[in-house]
């Protein structure tokens, strides 16, 4: 079978599978509170849900739109379906897929990248499911260790440790590109402290600036 045929068949299957499992997961997640409620003899207060959505949900809706627009090009279609079903994007799935792409030496936008990204997210999700299942099984003996005050700072700083390591990996090869977004974002967070809790929204201007600079240098390089 020709490469194009294999890819086209794989893509069609990915969308069919992705849509089906997304829909089933949605139904399961919305249905679970009602099912649990029926065993407890209680039903959700839909008025409180609507009020709660207006109070806390709208911010997350905007954040979800940003995440979809930004992360889907990085992950490709299969990776994107799977990452949005399994969650923990910024602290796990995105760095995992980017790291895998780097190790495999594939380029964004290629079918090889789509495959590597899907494989890495699937493996990462399975490891998370396994660790959490084991953790829940062994919760009693593990709890004192995991919640010990000495280890608390370590577990609170997983994301900074992750981004520190990733920063070195990406900045060293693109230091000219990294300087300006880092300076601008640092200035924003220093001068406007209220934005420190809005990091996910600021990914758009931070990433946008980096892409703009990359585009300008790309064009300059092409002209030369």
């Amino acid at each position: 079978m020709k490469r194009e045929e294999i890819i086209s068949r794989y893509e069609r299957g990915t969308h069919r599978l992705g849509k089906t499992v997304s829909l089933i997961t949605l139904v399961l997640l919305i249905g679970a509170p009602f099912l649990i409620g029926s065993t407890l003899g209680a039903m959700p207060d839909l008025g409180a849900v609507a009020r709660g959505f207006l109070a806390v949900g709208l911010v997350w809706t905007v954040s979800s739109v940003v995440e979809f627009l930004v992360y889907t090009p990085m992950l490709g279609s299969g990776g994107s379906y799977l990452a949005f079903i399994t969650g923990n994007l910024i602290n796990m799935k995105i760095p995992c897929a980017i790291n895998a792409r780097d190790l495999a030496g594939v380029k964004a936008g290629t079918k090889e990248n789509e495959i590597v990204s899907t494989l890495s997210i699937a493996v990462s999700s399975l490891v998370t499911i396994l660790v959490l299942a084991l953790g829940v099984l062994l919760l009693q003996p593990l709890q004192p260790l995991l919640q010990s005050p000495a280890l608390q700072p370590a577990f609170d700083q997983v994301v900074p440790a992750l981004f520190g390591a990733m920063a070195y990996k990406y900045y060293r090869k693109n230091i000219r590109l990294a300087v300006w977004p880092l300076l601008l974002m640092s200035a924003v967070f220093i001068l406007l402290p209220s934005l420190q809790s809005q990091t996910s929204i600021l990914i758009i201007p931070g990433g946008g600036l980096a892409i703009l600079l990359a585009w300008l240098w790309y064009r300059k390089g092409k002209k030369q």
Partner: protein, 247 residues
């Protein structure tokens, strides 16, 4: 039986465990399809194997920190529901905030002593409703969006790759900038009263990554390259534990 006891009963485990098992099967299907497609288009098995090992090793530490989120929420919501939410769709930073916001809407504090069955099911539904939008967008727009992207990139033009690298650099810069801001301007500008721990942790992990990368390149240690991210994170977290004890 208390409400917390009911929320950790076998039937609730069965409901939540069933959904987790479904998602695990979905992951296996996606992984097998990707592996087979990779082989069919001529990708090297060794490369695919490296992707699997590096992704698995990288994921263990963040997964343990996610487990802490399950423990943190279990006091108020029982064990199965936080387990489900953090295994499927949820995000560590999201769940606690939304659960607290949802508890306020039903007029209680997020604690086991105040939890009632109607409050729990309302909080659980709100947690699902608030985070489902990424999945809904994927359901309706993924095909159109990725199709348009692949047409504009022409099957992987060189700028498409640079743009994704730039986007990721921008993303990392936002987080590093926020750590600097948290230290320098906590509450109001230039107070230097905030915690420097996130910034120092990131610096420590970056230094260890630099050392491991140099070692892997000098001695051509491919296995070290695969584990360098996980090891750097571990070093950063160890550094945070040490600094946390003295700061």
């Amino acid at each position: 039986m208390t409400v917390i006891g009911q929320l950790s009963s076998p039937v609730i485990y069965l409901i939540c465990g069933g959904i987790v098992a479904f998602v695990a099967v979905v992951c296996v299907i996606f992984a097998v399809r990707a592996w087979r497609a990779g082989k069919a288009i001529g990708m090297d098995t060794a490369v695919l194997r490296r992707v699997v090992t590096s992704s698995a090793s990288f994921s263990v530490l963040p997964a343990v920190s996610i487990l802490l989120g399950v423990i943190a929420l279990s006091g108020a919501l029982g064990i199965p529901w936080p387990w489900l939410r953090l295994s499927v769709i949820g995000a560590l930073h999201y769940e606690t905030q939304v659960a607290q916001g949802a508890a306020e809407q039903v007029g209680i504090h997020l604690s086991g002593s105040e939890m009632t069955a109607p409050a729990f099911v309302t909080i659980a539904l709100l947690m699902s409703v608030c985070i489902m939008w990424g999945m809904i967008l994927n359901l309706f727009l993924n095909k159109k969006y990725t199709g348009r992207l692949s047409r504009s990139q022409g099957g992987g033009s060189s700028f498409g790759d640079e743009a994704m690298t730039a986007m990721f650099i921008g993303l990392v810069s936002v987080y590093l900038g926020s750590y600097l801001g948290q230290w320098i301007s906590s509450g109001s500008v230039f107070t230097f009263a905030g915690s420097a721990l996130p910034l120092l942790t990131a610096l420590c992990a970056a230094v260890v990554m630099a050392v491991l990368t140099a070692a892997a390149e000098k001695w051509k240690l491919r296995w070290l390259e695969d584990f360098s991210l996980a090891l750097s994170m571990l070093a950063g977290m160890a550094c945070a534990a040490l600094l946390g004890a003295v700061m």
